[in-house]
Symmetry: C2
Subunit: 323 residues, 2 copies
DNA sequence: ATGAAAGCGCTAACAC
DNA sequence: GTGTTAGCGCTTTCAT
């Protein structure tokens, strides 16, 4: 690939002039502009963003750390972020941490080396590792440190809404299938559900799953739940796990919602495709993605950003899996 | 962030020595190594990959162009690629083209500027745009040019298998819901299906959808199909669209597989979650992802790679949506 | 309006 | 073993 020097020589000007032309900074005469543009096209020249970044200290790249791209929730979030990023001329590095602390640490090293402009962490399992970084960071769900803003849905309230809805629909014997312990969101959903139950003087059962989304593993867990039929309402920590639960229930001849009512969490696209379609607690996925990147970009541009918890409202989406 | 000069000064050596230490190239005495390492840790220094890339002409980055990350098929493919890439120390730039030729072109410009080591295009709609690039490229599904290797499943045979299976199960009045015209894969699946039908002297109906995966739009298309009940077998161009079709059929009271048998394509995870679970033609997703990146890495490393069509075998996965 | 030159952080050839 | 130095492709200050 050619470089700025080559273009300059061919156009019979200095590299400074070409640089000015490329950046629209400083004066370049019309004639010169045309000459330069012609040579750029002839050579198929594209300015080297790496060289540029090394000087400007802004690579215009963002690192996206996602625990699991296969989960529809996360890829809908990534879609929103990608869309926004590209519109403002930023490119995305994608890292799939697989909810592994080790992998996240390794990724962080690589990310630092690429001098990204900012980092979007999600469900992070690292803390101090971020403190030595002086790159803007925003976090989804898990808290990292007191100097990093956290975006999440109001999971606690979401859990509460899930209970209230099931209770409303007549359920009195409920089960909550809870997600892994190291997800803050999961704990809050559970707590909201249980607190709401206590308020009504209802005791609920809780089973913890240790994986976010791996169909086979989830199915194994399900088989271990004794007498799942005895419940009349089940709240599952996310939609994809709820889909597996639904399949399992139908498989053993339980009718939804007549025998057991089922409610998920996320409102990822999968809920609509199930039959019966899945009642769920909606997280405003697109807003989450947009807020994450907006906060990040502001920090990159050295605008003031309040470092706090940004809590987005959840909402009950009533579909067919509840009465 | 500190630089190599700072580390060198603090360790009381020259930058060349630090560079040698970092790269494990050339001799550095044990004592010096220790001193340097100590300073690196104290400063929290991470070598600048951009500066390195500018010199070595290898940024160790790969651009991944995906038409639609929300489609489970593609995010399973991305997962396989990400996994492989990270293991060998490559990072991924992610671009979601949304099947737009314009967007793909723009992405290509950005990608060039970042001097990526290689590009994985998928379902590309550009041709000449790639020819002026001298970066290794591999393509998934759509052919780009005679100098670029293409990986795909054997879509033609897959279409044939879909027909044969439905025919086997007694269907005689079949519909194929075909994907958008600019997807080569979609055309081949259709052709395989139709050719197999002709061989049996059977006439099949075909309806073309103009989007890959946007639930609402697909639903609109479905409503327009007249008297869908008259068919006893439907082959849908991918699993996600098949899920929408299934939902639609169940919604109008048609029982699957007893009244209508349904078969999808891809074998993305969604098929298992549906009820009845979806019979489908499996693409070996993980193999596809792995082959794509293997071919690319070889080219990056200047190893010989045969420029041809790499056709991976498809396979019938029999589940509950067919008899 | 344009050019010369210094410098961004790094690697590597060459000298000692 | 280690240091000096040129150079990768770029931006920008300061002359002219």
């Amino acid at each position: 690939m050619s470089n700025i020097r080559e273009i300059a020589e061919r156009a019979g000007v200095s590299i400074a002039t070409v640089s000015r032309y490329l950046n629209g900074s400083g004066y370049v005469s019309e004639k010169t502009k045309i000459k330069i543009q012609k040579e750029i096209e002839k050579a198929g020249y594209t300015p080297n963003a790496l060289a540029r970044a090394i000087f400007t200290k802004n690579s215009r790249t963002i690192a996206l750390m996602i625990p699991n791209i296969t989960n529809p929730f996360f890829n809908q979030m990534v879609t929103a972020i990608e869309d926004y990023a590209n519109k403002i001329g930023y490119s995305l590095f994608l890292y799939n941490t697989g909810d592994s602390r080790e992998k996240e640490k390794e990724c962080l090293e690589v990310i630092k080396s690429y001098r990204v402009s900012g980092i979007i962490a999600s469900r992070s399992q690292c803390k101090e590792e971020y403190s030595e970084i002086n790159i803007p960071v925003v976090s989804f769900e898990n808290h990292i440190s007191s100097s990093i803003a956290t975006v999440s849905s109001d999971n606690y309230n979401g859990g509460k809404m899930a209970f209230d809805h099931l209770y409303d629909r007549g359920c009195r014997n409920m089960l909550h299938i809870k997600g892994p312990r190291n997800f803050e969101a999961t704990e809050l959903r559970c707590k909201g559900f249980v607190d709401a139950a206590n308020k009504k003087g209802i005791k609920v059962d809780i089973v913890e799953f240790e994986t976010d989304f791996q169909v086979q593993i989830l199915e194994e867990y399900l088989k271990r739940i004794e007498n799942i039929k005895k419940y009349d309402g089940i709240f599952v920590f996310n939609d994809i796990a709820a889909a597996v639960v639904m399949k399992h229930l139908k498989g053993i001849g339980i009718s939804i919602p007549h025998q057991v009512q089922l409610i998920g969490f996320d409102d990822s696209f999968i809920g609509e495709l199930l039959y019966p379609s899945l009642t769920t607690i909606r997280q405003p996925i697109k807003e989450i993605g947009t807020l994450l990147i907006e906060l990040l970009i502001k920090q990159i541009n050295r605008e003031k950003v309040e470092i706090k918890d940004y809590l987005l409202e959840t909402k009950l989406i009533k579909r067919e899996s509840t009465l």
